[in-house]
Symmetry: C2
Subunit: 419 residues, 2 copies
C-alpha cells in the first residue's frame, strides 16, 4: 500500500451484506449467486492492486475483509487469468509466515487512452496499475475537422506499439473538451473545437477497427477528475472538484467517491458560471463567464504574451513573472482573483475536501496561489473554506489520459472474468 | 401508485445480487444473511407503500421484483408489526384473483418535524405515508436566542397531541437555516438567526425528554430538497436542485436519487455565489452574493414593501404587480433576472433534471418566471438548459417539514424490525 492519505479502498462485496466467503457453488441457484459475489470479490481484489500497488495476501485480507483462504483462492484465479502474478515474499510484518507479494500484470489489460485538446492531441497505452506503456502527443491545428482529427488519432494509436484490436486492449477511452454522451460516444457540442453533433465514437471505432462498444468518450474535465482521484492529487478523498484550465474552463466532480456526471452527463460546465457581469463576451454568447475572465486567452492577453499557446505560453508568463515583470505579475494576480472567485463558488456549493487545479493552472499555481486563495476565502463561508485544500494537479497534462484509461479499465475491474 | 412521472421505486435488495426470495433461515450462518436481506426487503416494501401509496400485493410484487409468496410473507410481517394493514380488494387488473390492498398505518410511526425559520417556527406530527396528523406555525421574534427558540419548540411540540417520548414517535427532525452537523445536531453557523456554535440537538433532546440520538438536525434547504424529492415537485426525478428562498437563499441537492450533503454536510451554500460584483454587501462580508441580489430583502426593498416579512410580504408584492404597479413589476423582474443568473449557474454545474423553487419563490413564481427563464437561457448552455424544468415548489411552506419527517422516518424504512 503506497498512499499516505487514507485511500479509498474497495471493499469486497457491499457493506450491507458483509463480506462473503464464497468458494464453490453448491447448486445451480446458489451457483448463480455465488458467481456474482465471486466476480465482485475478484474485482475488488484486483482494484486494490490496481490502485494501491503490490500487496501481500495478508494485506489484501485486511483491506478487503476476506479471510485468508478466500484471498488465496481469489488470487489464484486472478493469476490463472493472467491478471496478477505472485513473486517474492513480503517482509514479515507481524506474526505468521511471510506471504508472497501479489501485483498486477500491466500488460494483461491495456487501455488505449486519447485526449483531444484544442491545440494538441495525445494518446497513450496504459495498463493495469496505471502503467504507461507508451505515450505520444502532437500538435493539432486549431479548427481541425472531426475527420482530420480521427485520422490523426489513428496514426497516434498506430505509433503506440499495441494494435487497438489486440485482445489485451480492453478498449479505447477518449477525453473531449465538450458535452459528450458516454453510451455511444456522441459529441453534442465542443465549442472550442468548433464541433457540434459529431458521432465520434463510431468514427473512431471504424478508424481503429474495433467494435463501437469498446470506444468510450467522456468529457475531459470529468476524466481529469477521475484521473486525479484515482492516481493523482485527489487520492484518498471522497469529495473532489477538478478544475481543468485550457482554452475553456471545465470542472469534474467526484462525490462520495464516485464521478458525478449529471442527469445527461453534462455536469461540470463551470466555465460558464457568471463571475463578472462587466466582463467580456464568451463564445457561449453570455458575458463575464468564468473562462472568459480566468481562462487561457484572458491570461495571455493580460500578460502580453503573443504567438504561443497552451503550456508553452503559460511557461512564458511564469518566466515573465519570475523575472520581475510587474505588469505580468499584476495580470496574473487578476487571473488568480477570478480563478478564486469561481473556486469559492464551487466550494460553497459542493463542500469538497479538495479542489485540484489542472491544465494551465498547474504550472501557474505558484504565481496565482495567493490572490486565488484570498478570493476563495472572501467568497466562501469560513466554516466551509477552512475545510478544503486547493492544490495543483499531480498528473499535469496526463490527468485526462489516466482518467480515460480508468474509464476503460473499469470494465475489467467490474468483472475480471469478462475477458 | 399515484405518480404520473416515472417514480423512483425502491428495489428489493440491490440490482447486483438480484432480488432474493428468502423466507426462513436454515442455518445460523444463513440466518444472519437471510435476516439482513429480509430486513432490507421489508424496508423496500414499506418504502413503496410510504412513498407511492396503497397497492395490491401483485402491484408490490411487480414493483419490487419479489415473487407472490415472498410478498405475502413480508406483508404479513409488516402487518404483525402494526406498520401496514390490508383491507378491501383491488379491482382486478389482469388475470388471477384480485388481491387485498395494502396500505401503511400513518400512526404506526410518527416523526416530530420542526422548522426554524428566521421569522417563524413550525412543528408537525407526520406519520408513515407522509400523513400530517397535526401542524402548527407561530411567529418567531427575530434574534431569538437558542434557549428561547428551544422553549418555543417544546411548547409547539406539546400542542401537537403526541408526546415526543411516545413509542410511536420515531424521532424529532429539525430544519435549520444554517450549517449543521447531522451526527449530533450541532449548528456551526446560522447567520440569519445570529447563531454560532449551538448544540441544538442536545438542547432539544433535553427539552423534549428524548434521547439525543433521536433528534436529527439538518439544513433547511437540504430538507426542503428531500421533501420535494419524495413528496413534492421533485417526485420521480433523480437529479434535483431545490432553491430555498427565505431571508437567505440556500440550495439542496439530490444527485442520482440521493441527498448530496458534501464532505462535512455543508453543500448547497449557493446563496453566497457571486452573481454581481457591483452588488450590495452580504451578511457574509462579501459583495453581490446571490441572496443579496435575489433574496427577500432585495425583493421587498426594490418593490417598496415595508413592515411585512416572509410569505405575507411576498403576497403584498404579488398584489402590487397584479394590480399593475409598474415600478413593482420592474423590481420583481430585476429579482427574477438575478434569480435566473444563479439558477443558470447551478444548471451548468450540476445538469439537473429539475430545479424546484421554494420559499418566497413559490408564490413569486408567476411574476418572475419570464425574466428568470430568460436569464437561465442566457447563462446556461442550450444543450443543458433545454433538458431542465424549472418549477415552483409543490409543498410550499411544508417542504422542510416533510423533509425533516422523511429524515426521521428513514430509520424505520431502513429497518422496520428496529422498532
Amino acid at each position: 500500500m503506497t498512499t499516505s492519505a487514507a485511500p479509498r479502498r474497495p471493499r469486497a462485496d457491499d457493506g450491507r451484506m458483509g463480506a462473503m466467503d464464497v468458494r464453490a457453488p453448491r447448486s445451480p441457484r446458489a451457483g448463480t449467486r455465488a458467481s456474482v459475489v465471486r466476480r465482485h470479490n475478484l474485482g475488488a481484489l484486483l482494484e486494490c492492486l490496481h490502485l494501491d500497488g503490490a500487496a501481500s495476501r495478508s494485506q489484501l485480507g485486511s483491506v478487503t475483509g476476506l479471510n485468508r483462504s478466500t484471498v488465496a483462492d481469489l488470487v489464484q484465479e486472478l493469476a490463472e487469468r493472467g491478471l496478477v502474478v505472485e513473486d517474492g515474499l513480503s517482509p514479515s510484518s507481524g506474526p505468521g509466515r511471510p506471504s508472497p507479494v501479489v501485483h498486477v500484470r500491466p500488460s494483461a489489460a491495456v487501455a488505449l487512452a486519447v485526449e483531444l485538446g484544442v491545440d494538441s492531441a495525445a494518446a497513450a497505452a496504459i495498463g493495469l496499475g496505471g502503467h504507461v506503456h507508451d505515450q505520444v502527443r502532437v500538435e493539432l491545428p486549431r479548427g481541425s475537422s472531426p475527420q482530420e482529427t480521427v485520422r490523426l488519432v489513428a496514426e497516434l494509436a498506430a505509433s503506440l506499439g499495441v494494435a487497438p484490436a489486440d485482445p489485451r486492449v480492453t478498449g479505447v477511452g477518449v477525453a473531449v473538451p465538450g458535452l459528450t454522451r458516454r453510451v455511444d460516444g456522441f459529441v453534442h457540442l465542443a465549442p472550442n473545437l468548433g464541433w457540434k453533433g459529431v458521432g465520434l465514437g463510431s468514427m473512431l471505432a471504424d478508424a481503429l477497427g474495433v467494435p463501437t462498444e469498446r470506444v468510450h468518450v467522456g468529457n475531459e474535465a470529468d476524466l481529469g477528475a477521475l484521473g486525479e482521484h484515482r492516481r493523482g492529487a485527489g487520492r484518498g478523498y471522497e469529495h473532489l472538484v477538478f478544475v481543468s484550465g485550457e482554452v475553456g474552463i471545465g470542472a469534474g466532480l467526484v462525490i462520495e467517491g464516485r464521478p458525478m456526471l449529471g442527469a445527461a452527463g453534462y455536469a461540470g460546465e463551470a466555465g460558464h458560471m457568471l463571475v463578472n457581469p462587466k466582463g467580456r463576451q464568451c463564445t457561449c454568447g453570455a458575458f463575464g463567464c468564468w473562462e472568459t475572465e480566468a481562462g487561457e486567452a484572458a491570461l495571455l492577453r493580460a500578460a502580453g504574451v503573443r504567438g504561443a499557446r497552451g503550456v508553452a505560453a503559460v511557461d512564458a508568463v511564469v518566466e515573465k513573472v519570475t523575472a520581475g515583470d510587474e505588469s505580468a505579475a499584476a495580470a496574473v494576480a487578476e487571473i488568480g482573483h477570478w480563478l478564486g472567485v469561481g473556486v469559492g463558488n464551487l466550494v460553497n456549493l459542493l463542500n469538497p475536501e479538495v479542489v485540484v487545479l489542472g491544465g494551465i493552472f498547474q504550472p501557474l499555481f505558484p504565481c496565482v496561489e495567493e490572490p486565488m486563495l484570498s478570493a476563495v476565502r472572501a467568497r466562501s463561508l469560513a466554516e466551509v473554506s477552512e475545510l478544503v485544500s486547493v492544490v495543483p494537479s499531480d498528473l499535469g497534462t496526463s490527468a485526462q489520459l489516466h482518467g480515460a484509461a480508468e474509464m476503460v479499465l473499469a470494465t475489467v475491474l467490474a468483472d475480471p472474468c469478462s475477458r
